[in-house]
Subunit: 337 residues, 2 copies
DNA sequence: TTGTACGCGTTATCAC
DNA sequence: GTGATAACGCGTACAA
């Protein structure tokens, strides 16, 4: 550390350590000239408080964690960046912690959080979220907010995209595009993973419901690539096929492993957040972009509320609408360099 | 916090608090059956040490920061992810802190680091790096390692890509490709920013040196878009033109604002890490991918050395070769979901 | 092998 | 207004 302690400063200015402490923290009880004197000397000596000691004494660190699986997916890193600035402006430091989607690391991180790591956290759990590790937080009275994914049944606020509506919007848009070109969609493929987490489940639901509304059959068993690759009994009718999944990676897996799709040329793609796949395999590619800013700010506000006003009510999930649909090249890129 | 303190546990098992403390930390002096007893009871009571108190007593937190501008650029987030796992396996927690490229936030972060935030840090500074804020770290004796960018003159280890060689390799490859297609490169555009930081300077140098070696003229004033847009006196000869910059964004700015390029069809592009730009504006697009893993591990090893063996020698920069050149679609994507 | 006592650097609670 | 003094929870020489 900086070497210079409060006691050093106190000795230098001739006041007691407690008076100096008060002076530095703008306590109204100290005389203004005393404060001036202390401030000036602190500056001169290059004094800076030891934050560990302060945290121990105050019982809080004015620090918040943003816990996430990794940094590669926009839904994970973008809200983290936004929340970082948001908390910075309010006197808190936000630290980002990765659990790498590993349950063991995840448990360790929460453990550490519960024992003095930070005052609270925004949390994107691993998949599938079991809600076991979160017990230590609840027990320790550490406020936290789930973002995007969440474990149902835990008494914590949840902020997530309205995924049912988003998936339905994707279907509607693809159907309209196909209709317009004279070749209406003949079948839909569901490449979501409803059993993985609530997000995937909601998207699968929205996609299938929209297809049903349009009277279009959905092929593939339960949307899982396993079912798809093992050969679905359903043979899709002739005509364009619309595929949907959370990202290009899973969509591609479905496309390449689903026998019924072999040789089909008229394919339409729908994914979330960005397109990281081939450009030529699909006639139309549509991306649903989540509203990262609104999600981050909502979660931050909820957390700050829990931080300063005690545990907030475990309200029902906040569903944020997507910010819109667009093509693979139109996804907004935040500034860089 | 968890509520349960060491003293509670001590009272429960009937031993002194210090004995319990030792037992939990596997001190060889405590009898094995005592340790067993303590361990079992600790488990039962759900005891977990208060990390703030431990940090204060021990004088260190077994925590490391990875300080970076943001999460959007691969060179920033990928090493952070890799270093996170690396330190995790060695008993340290790595926390990621953003400074958003803002000098004020940057100074505040370093200040906080110097006063108990963590035991050390890997640091990607803002541009242009001035080396002023780093003084607090040196003064406080906090070990840190510069990654990618760095402020010259600070006594800290530096790990960065061999950017001179990388830029030269890009030029050679583009020249070879053009040659092969029968239309050799006629001119080169330098869209780096040598005055911004050492990385940009090295790339500009490598690019220009390679061009000179091939006897090909470089147009644009000092490589800066300002110079380019203000109309360089040099009119490039007819034939393919090779543009290089750190990313597609700056390359595009140069292409669109440089009068001499207006209407030219035969353009070749060279960038670093990934391509986030139009696919059709260039005949060839080449990406130099930095070796994030080697960079992260090298920096981590240097930091750990400083952490455990005292300040390591301020050796000269470690230059890591790029992992290779590839097309815009072949950039490796780490696993997601 | 276990217990005592003090230190880590601040903040908070009392007196004065 | 200011000064002692006790927390905060844990680690560790030193003593026993």
């Amino acid at each position: 550390m900086s070497g210079i302690r409060l006691s050093d400063l106190a000795a230098r200015v001739g006041f007691d350590i407690s008076t100096v402490s008060r002076a530095l923290r703008n306590d109204p009880r100290v005389r203004s000239d005393t404060r001036e004197r202390v401030m000036r000397e602190a500056e001169a000596m290059g004094y800076h408080p030891n934050l560990t000691a302060r945290a121990l004494a105050e019982g809080r660190s004015r620090t918040v964690w943003f816990i996430l699986p990794g940094l590669e997916r926009p839904i994970e890193r973008r809200p983290a960046s936004i929340a970082s600035r948001w908390f910075l402006e309010r006197g808190y430091d936000l630290l980002i912690v990765q659990h790498h989607g590993d349950p063991v690391v995840y448990a360790r991180v929460l453990e550490r959080l519960a024992n003095g790591g930070a005052d609270g956290a925004i949390l994107i759990p691993h998949s599938p979220p079991e809600g076991l590790a979160e017990g230590v937080l609840v027990e320790a009275g550490i406020p936290f907010v789930y973002l995007d994914r969440y474990a149902p049944g835990i008494g914590a606020p949840v902020v997530t995209t309205d995924n049912v509506m988003a998936a339905a919007a994707l279907f509607d848009a693809l159907a309209a595009a196909a209709e317009k070109s004279g070749k209406p969609v003949a079948a839909a493929v569901d490449a979501f993973f409803p059993e993985r987490n609530p997000v995937e489940a909601a998207r699968s639901k929205g996609w299938r419901e929209a297809a049903a509304r349009h009277g279009i059959p959905v092929v593939g068993k339960n949307g899982s690539p396993v079912g798809i690759s093992s050969g679905s009994p359903t043979v899709p009718p002739a005509g364009p096929i619309a595929l949907a999944g959370s990202n290009a990676r899973w969509l591609e897996r479905a496309r390449l492993s689903f026998d019924a799709l072999a040789g089909r040329k008229e394919l339409l793609a729908a994914v979330f957040d960005d397109w990281r796949g081939p450009r030529t395999a699909y006639e139309t590619i549509l991306v649903a972009v989540q509203d990262f800013r609104t999600m981050a700010v909502s979660a931050s506000e909820l957390l700050l509320n829990g931080l300063e006003n005690g545990a907030g009510a475990p309200e029902k999930p906040i569903l944020v609408p997507i910010s819109g649909l667009c093509g693979p090249d139109d996804v907004a890129r935040p500034d860089e360099l």
